[in-house]
Amino acid sequence: MTSRKLLSEAKLWLVAIPILLWTLIPIYHIFLFSISSKDSAFSGALWPDKPTLRNFGTVFRQENFYLHHFWNQIWNSLWIALAVGAITLAVATCAAFAISRLKVRGGRTVMNAALFTYFIPAAFLAVPMYKAMGAYGLLNSRWSLVLAMVTLASPYAIWVLKQASDKLPWELDEAARIDGATPLQLFRLVYLPLMLPSLVAIGTYAVLLAWNEYLYAFLLLSHENTIPLAVGLGHFLASDDSPWEILMATALIYALPPAAIYYAFRRYMVGGLTSGAVKS
């Protein structure tokens, strides 16, 4: 290795190490709490005297007051996240195809209008959203949160997919048309397969957005049986003497699916969000 290479490598590490510590220390903290017993949780040691997995057992057996609906709530989280992912994908893919490939008149205007909604902070939209869901009688139904999250995720999803669609070579559409494809066949047989990397990236984005959502979930859902786990965890803070070690164990469990998804699709996340990532 030449000295110049060594130097640039060293500089990279100089940046990387603080960032790594910055992100990893809180996670390590969560982990530490989750394997500590109740008495040693606040000891401040870097490693507990007697590490234990009992907290996880408590969570899985729903043995804590705040966790009586653990399985129910994690199921809600999962159901909502997957529904948001699927519906956002369906909406955004069709919109991107229509705008970018079929060049539907006014398509770009619709997309820009949708993107414009991001100028309004989500918190401001919460009240109108609450009223709208109330008007449709959806309050306290998981569908209310699903619809709200689809609304929030779609503009970005449409925009990213439209950018990716624009990068597909136009001749492919023309070749397919000459080969005898109808627009629907073009969509199904040529467009979707080529967009797959971007679709995975956007689907993951929507799923994670819904999985991590707190504000709207807290607002639109209030029943123990309908709330996702994120809101359920929030309830821990209601008491003065919260069982932190159990809260952290649950949090760790809750953080695992996103980490797994991200790890599985990391290739698409980087490529898909930045580019069409399709070789023509």
Partner: protein, 355 residues
């Protein structure tokens, strides 16, 4: 197989008119090449025939049926794109069978037709590869395979060879021509390369600025270009053009240019009329010294093996001369030129038309 006829075709993009009333009839089984400089509207014409571009004015008919309002997929034409436009997520086999699959042909028929096309194009070893795993020439053949499995009425090619290297281009040129002789499908082939046009075409339409300048067989265009544009476009190296005046006396005529007399066969025009005189490099011979030829000085010698290209200077104007075999000449040498009267062309400088 089909007749294709364009009549009074026009096309504008916004305010710019790019095709000005082109009429062209293509015979059943004919290999028609549209050739012209970049931006002259060749692709636009082809795309209108394919149904990829709206027809601005006039009508296009295939086999007597006007197709102006017929969807591309119902025109039964197949097109080979410059970029090949192969579906990247399908294997060669799937690419070639795609149109048949859309037509809901049975698997047996698809398999049969694809393997037949693959045999013709020597693609059998590659049927299960993806386009990205093929070389440029192989991709080009897959694009052709995709067209021939359909057994279309008309083949359309839009500069299909321009992404290939020179050697492969020559090979593919021959392959496409052989394919046409075998299938005898009416073909419209667009290129800006006049060599491709000359070597492949039954007939050539030279297009310039949205108009057909001349329509004819390759040798007709070469021997009797109808105007200056065609004269300079067809032939390589390009024709020498000199400005001069016609001099007629009795039966013999010549053009006076650069203070010399350039013989031409008696033609129209009047004595003293200003003209442009054209002579191809291969039609200028050498005269013995002192035998009344045109004195010139050698500037550049380019030996090509079978022939030698010379740039010579006559009164400060450079001319290209091609001579067969090898010339024992050096820059600075003097020589005497003898242009062949039978191969000289005379054009009206105002209209550019042949006189």
């Amino acid at each position: 197989m089909a007749l294709v006829s364009f009549s009074q075709i026009e096309k504008s993009f916004g305010a710019t008119k790019v095709v000005h009333g082109i009429s062209l009839d293509i015979a059943d089984g004919e290999f028609m090449v549209l050739v012209g400089p970049s931006g002259c509207g060749k692709s636009t014409l082809l795309r209108m025939l394919a149904g990829l571009e709206e027809i601005g004015g006039g009508t296009i008919a295939i086999d007597g049926r006007v197709v102006n309002d017929v969807d591309s997929k119902d025109r039964n034409v197949a097109m080979v794109f410059q970029s090949y436009a192969l579906y990247p997520h399908m294997t060669v086999r799937e690419n070639m069978g795609f149109s048949l699959r859309l037509r809901k042909e049975s698997n047996r028929v698809i398999e049969e037709r694809v393997s037949q096309a693959a045999r013709i194009l020597n693609l059998e070893p590659y049927l299960d590869r993806y386009p990205r795993e093929l070389s440029g020439g192989q991709r080009q053949r897959v694009a052709m395979g995709r067209a021939i499995v359909r057994d279309p009425k008309v083949f359309l090619f839009d500069e299909p060879l321009s992404n290939l290297d020179a050697k492969l281009r020559v090979a593919m040129r021959a392959e496409i021509k052989a394919l046409h002789q075998r299938l005898k499908t009416t073909t419209v082939y667009v290129t800006h390369d006049q060599v491709e046009a000359m070597t492949m075409a039954d007939r050539i339409a030279v297009v310039n600025d949205g108009r057909v300048e001349q329509l004819g067989t390759p040798l007709e265009l070469y021997d009797r270009p109808a105007n200056l544009f065609v004269a300079q476009f067809i032939g390589s190296p390009a024709m020498n053009i000199l400005e001069g005046a016609l001099a007629k006396s009795g039966d013999s005529s010549c053009v006076k240019a650069l203070g010399q007399r350039w013989p031409v066969e008696s033609s129209g025009g009047t004595d003293g009329q200003p003209v442009k005189y054209g002579i191809r490099p291969e039609h200028i011979g050498f005269a013995g010294r002192g035998s009344g030829g045109i004195a010139a000085e050698v500037v550049v010698v380019e030996p090509m093996g079978a022939q030698t290209e010379l740039v010579v200077r006559v009164a400060d104007v450079s001319l290209t001369v091609v001579t067969h075999g090898r010339a024992n000449l050096r820059p600075g040498d003097g020589l005497s030129l003898s242009p062949e009267a039978g191969h000289a062309h005379v054009f009206d400088p105002a209209t550019g038309r042949r006189i």
